[in-house]
């Protein structure tokens, strides 16, 4: 998302009109409701909603949790653009000339009530691509005795995609997802690529074959709106292009995963400890030999009772 980095330093219009698209599942009716909210500098859309809920209308329903762009619960459509409510400054979306903020529930999701949407389908699709590391040696994966080795370069290949917070903004923005309920959606596909690009993942062929179906990557036509709205700069559009290219290369047999991480003993066991420099002085009463052999025990009971 192209952020207005200076937004938080500006003062928003003193009073903004918040228009909320509301929905009542009992009567099945949907309407626009308007609230006037006094603002302050640094107020986010979520703050405004909380203020409305506290002072005006306790029946307004929306979802949030962390209030700082980490949990991905508060996605909604602000002035026709999917955004995180807690990450969007009022000053960014309203101006003196147009002090109106229009809030709608996320497009392409089922609306439960007002601004709260149903993510069951979203997570079903996420689960479909097996968003976890697959190893032949399942036992080692579940009860690890050793570590997987990975270089910083290999990490950089997928690090960006691992930042996804499952907020669903990308699916709300996708023009294909808008008309095709069978499409897996940018989020799930980006996650699929995240695990295929991960060197620790061993059964990448299985995941590629899983994706070689109708309604998966080949429905994407690079409108790239998902990348444009993603609040975490995950770049799902780029991930999907790489995934598709990988799958097609795999199909014509020119692609092989170049490296699969091996299990290695942990770092500190591999390298012998460096001896302390002669000028280092030890705290009195500390026996280095003893510390290395047995782990220090923190006397919890003693701390609690004292």
């Amino acid at each position: 998302m192209v952020f207005d980095l200076k937004a938080a330093t500006r003062t928003p219009p003193r009073v903004v009109r918040i228009r909320v698209r509301r929905y009542n599942p009992e009567t099945g009716s949907s309407w626009w409701q308007e609230y006037e909210v006094e603002t302050y500098r640094g107020m986010t859309v979520l703050d405004a909603l909380l203020k409305i809920k506290a002072e005006r209308d306790h029946s307004l329903v929306f979802r949030y949790s962390c209030r700082m762009g980490v949990c991905g619960s508060c996605g909604l459509v602000v002035n026709k653009r999917p955004r995180l409510a807690c990450q969007t400054q009022i000053a960014e979306v309203a101006s003196e000339g147009r002090p109106v903020v229009e809030l709608e529930p996320l497009y392409n999701f089922t609306v439960l009530r007002d601004l709260a949407t149903d993510f069951t389908e979203f997570f079903r699709k996420h689960r479909f691509v097996k968003p976890y590391i697959l190893r032949r040696d399942v036992r080692e994966r579940e009860e690890p005795t050793l570590e997987y080795s990975q270089t910083p370069d290999e990490l950089a290949e997928y690090y960006e995609y691992s930042l996804c917070i499952s907020c669903g903004l990308c699916d709300a923005a996708c023009p294909v997802y808008a008309s095709d309920p069978n499409f897996l959606g940018p989020q799930a596909l980006a996650q699929a690529y995240r695990y295929i690009a991960d060197t620790r993942d061993e059964l990448w062929e299985e995941r590629l074959r899983l994706l070689d179906v109708e309604g998966s990557i080949f429905k994407c036509h690079f409108a790239a709106t998902c990348s444009a709205v993603c609040p975490k700069m995950v770049d799902p559009a780029g991930a999907i292009q790489r995934l598709r290219s990988t799958l097609l290369k795999y199909k014509v047999r020119v692609y092989r995963k170049t490296r699969v991480a091996k299990v290695v003993p942990p770092m500190e066991k591999r390298e012998p400890q460096k001896p302390l420099p002669p000028e280092a002085t030890l705290v009195e009463g500390v026996d280095l030999k003893l510390l290395e052999e047995e782990k220090p025990v923190i006397p919890v009971e003693k701390l609690l009772t004292s």
Binding site: V176, E214, K219
Partner: protein
């Protein structure tokens, strides 16, 4: 057919078409034939000569175009059809029929070309 295979066909025909259509359009440039306007580049003599000499290219072009076009439209329609299974099936069948029908016409154009009278 697997979705990936269809996508491969779509991209392969696309590459083919970029080249073939560039040629197909370029031969309609009037100056190449030393005539004044577009319709005269399509006089029976020129067309007859072209088809006689380049018929394999023309057949290839029509195959690529028809497959790429109908398959592309099929993709769009399937997307719009949502999860209505009957509709999806109908779209798939109709696309295959459309491909066959258009190709028959295209082949007839070349095979059935009358001698210049």
């Amino acid at each position: 057919m697997k979705a990936g295979t269809i996508a491969l066909i779509q991209y392969a025909t696309a590459i083919l078409m970029v080249l073939l259509i560039a040629w197909h359009v370029a031969v309609r440039i009037p100056w190449l034939h030393g005539v004044e306007d577009l319709p005269s580049t399509m006089s029976p003599e020129i067309i007859y000569d072209e088809v006689r000499r380049f018929w394999p290219l023309l057949i290839l072009l029509s195959i690529a175009v028809v497959i790429h076009g109908v398959n592309g439209l099929r993709g769009i329609l399937l997307e719009w059809a949502g999860s209505n299974e009957r509709l999806r099936f109908a779209i798939n069948i109709l696309s295959i029929l459309a491909i066959i029908a258009l190709l028959i016409v295209a082949v007839h154009t070349i095979v059935g070309l009358p001698e210049l009278g």
